[in-house]
Amino acid sequence: MSSVVGSLNELLVSLFSDISLDVSFLFLLAVIIPGVVIFLIMTVNAIVAVYMERKVSAFMQDRLGPMEVGIFGFKGGKKFWGGIGQTIADAIKLLVKEDIIPNDADRFLMILAPFIIFIGAFVTFIGVPFSEGLIISDFNIGILYVIAMSSVGVIGIILAGWSSNNKWSLYGAMRAAAQIISYEIPIGLSLILVVIVVGSLEMSEIVKWQADNRWFIIHSPFAMLGFFIFFISGVAETNRVPFDIPEAESELVAGWMTEYSGFRWALFFLSEYTNMLIVCIIASVVFLGGWLSPFKIINLPYVDIIPDSFFILDGFYLGLFWLLIKAIFLIFVMMWFRWTFPRLRVDQLMYLCWKVFIPFALGNLVFICIWELLF
């Protein structure tokens, strides 16, 4: 199971070392290639996730969902993948739509805001792994970087709400700021658990520890609690039901994106689904064994019941498969929440964060230290 490459960056460096070109040109290439890769991942993810969301919601609501738009003449007919081209059609519609900026809006900030949100989601991907060695850059502060970058977007949300010059937007932005900043804390506290146990912030180290021992979720009861706190806070962090109060459509019309349309709105949408994917991938990597196959949920070196041939299920390509399966399952759970739960109120949301999650996460931190000392 030796790693194919350390990361995409290392791969590029090793490739470029043989080419005799200008250094600045190579540097530019090294920036552009990962950028294109991330952008492709984001777009494909949004297209797939939106389609999935529409179908999941439809089946939960006794509907069929999109059934009409196929791709290149391929139509599923009455089968369930009928409207497979719907998201692409929607994306094209959004891009050619008229872009409206209200007269009284702060033009510069209103244009700037979607890009900040987009960049927040975009740069986070640098530290997000997809399989063994399939990561843009596997640096030693991986988790810290991901947490830090995923909260950049909130600046964009505040700007969007403020610059729209709309009361609903302002409400949504203020709610979002309070919510996202609050839920950063339980997320951080539950990720510290794994850092304490593994002793590293690096993604590949964390998964390596899980390969050597067991998935982190079954490390101890505290790790399991930590996973739930992380995942639920992650749902809150991505502003999804039951924590979607910043864009509560029945109260605030569309919250901080009320005044946005067309391409700028599409950027918000893209970022939302990207954030979902990031949270789910981080949860899978940190707690659910990352790119390890489910057969390696626990590693028992002294009981050799699983034959070695089983471990061909691990590896570069299958690792990607397992990680995506885990992440997609978590995304499905998020959708499941969305289509069955009502929405919490602002004060209840804050109550849940400050009076439930944070005390539990802090207690968790103490207990996992004791656990580590004892076992």
Binding site: Y171, R343, R345, Q348
Partner: protein, 380 residues
């Protein structure tokens, strides 16, 4: 929970902001405009502004013959058109002082109770939407569709039926209609439990609705709140029992009232739960009526043109939203001199400014949803 602390905290009061909710807003249930004075998220004052859907219904009626008024009453409460037809027909029949064939009364009761189920389904679904649950809405709407299909089979219309006329109904029930109704009731019995699983027992739903927007019984009575909204406050007042019209005294049913099972008596959850229980009672009434429906004519012996004697009449009716009243003054011609309608949703809405004060913006949506208003009826 936390909200009481927030209200006490007068030291952090900032400037008030006036927020216009509506007339185009997803949870004002129509073209209602709420002028909300807010202090942060907290509502300090709220003015409902209505009239965006005013269609001069009462003035129109002064120029229409009694038969021609029926389609107009349909358009008042468009979610419970049958109730409006029935209420108006009862008033005209009281003015004319005529006896109806037994079968007509049975048909009317069956239809009215089915309509009550349909209307409450919309109320529950949109209430779910107001607190953020989207799926219950699609479920209730697809079940309401089944009731509407029944009505379509009955009279050809799906929303504005013009079915119950003074002196009878437009079409007789077919035996197939009765079979389909029984089929629907059997189906709905099962579906009913699913709603309870999805919404009623949901902890977040309870958190959002219990103890929120409490209408004390005396305040509710003072404001003239009627229907499920008042019964949610624990007042046992249902015209089908307290002032029976048609043939309601023949049937066995209970009047559910709010008991404060999840919080305080008269909170939003109680009003929701009363509607749920009422659907169950309506199913009971329909089953009883279907079991004992007699044969006969569906038109009373009516004069060709309705010309009531000089005089006036006030008749009350328990619609899905509450106490509908029709006050008609006749001068002996075929056109009413004056027709006044007491709109239950109008009176129910008037309590909003009293109840919603001090709650959060999210709770305004919850409280408004729990009152189940229909703007067509408020503005007329």
């Amino acid at each position: 929970m936390g909200i009481d602390n927030l209200q006490d905290n007068s030291s952090i009061k900032a400037d008030e902001m006036v927020l216009n909710m509506g007339p185009q807003h997803p949870s004002t249930h129509g073209v209602l405009r709420l002028k909300i004075h807010t202090d942060g998220e907290i509502v300090s004052k709220i003015d409902p502004i209505m009239g965006y859907l005013h269609r001069c219904f009462e003035k129109h009626c002064e120029n229409l013959s009694y038969e021609q008024v029926v389609p107009f009453v349909d358009r008042c409460d468009y979610l419970a058109s049958m109730h409006m037809d029935h209420a108006y027909s009862l008033a005209v029949e009281k003015l004319l002082d005529i006896e109806l064939p037994e079968r007509v009364e049975y048909i009317r009761v069956i239809i009215a109770e089915l309509q009550r189920i349909a209307s409450h389904l919309v109320a529950i679904g949109t209430f779910g939407l107001d607190v953020g649950a989207i799926t219950p809405f699609t479920w209730t709407i697809s079940d309401r569709e089944r009731v509407i299909d029944l009505f379509e089979a009955l009279c050809g219309a799906r929303l504005l039926y013009n079915y119950i006329w003074p002196g009878g109904v437009s079409h007789d029930l077919s035996p197939k209609f009765i079979d389909r109704t029984i089929e629907f009731l059997d189906y709905f019995d099962k579906k009913y439990d699913e709603y309870n699983e999805l919404l009623t027992g949901n902890p977040i739903f309870i958190e959002r609705t219990a103890d929120v927007g409490i209408i004390p019984a005396d305040v509710g009575v003072d404001y003239g709140v009627t229907g499920p909204s008042l019964r949610g406050s624990g007042v046992d007042y249902d015209l089908r029992k307290t002032d029976p019209y048609s043939i309601y005294e023949k049937f066995e049913f209970e009047v559910p009232v709010g008991k404060g099972e999840m919080g305080t008596v008269g909170d939003c959850w109680d009003r929701y739960w009363v509607r749920m229980l009422e659907m169950k009672e309506s199913m009971k009434i329909v089953r009883q009526a279907i079991a004992s429906i007699p044969d006969g004519d569906v038109h009373a012996a009516m004069p060709k043109r309705i010309r009531p004697k000089k005089g006036s009449v006030y008749s009350r009716y328990e619609s899905a939203r509450g106490d509908v009243g029709f006050y008609i003054i006749s001068n002996g011609k075929n056109v009413p001199v004056r027709l006044k309608m007491r709109s239950p949703a109008f009176c129910n809405l008037s309590i909003l400014s009293e109840v919603a004060e001090g709650w959060m913006i999210s709770d305004v949506c919850t409280i408004l949803g729990s009152l189940d208003i229909v703007l067509g009826e408020i503005d007329r």
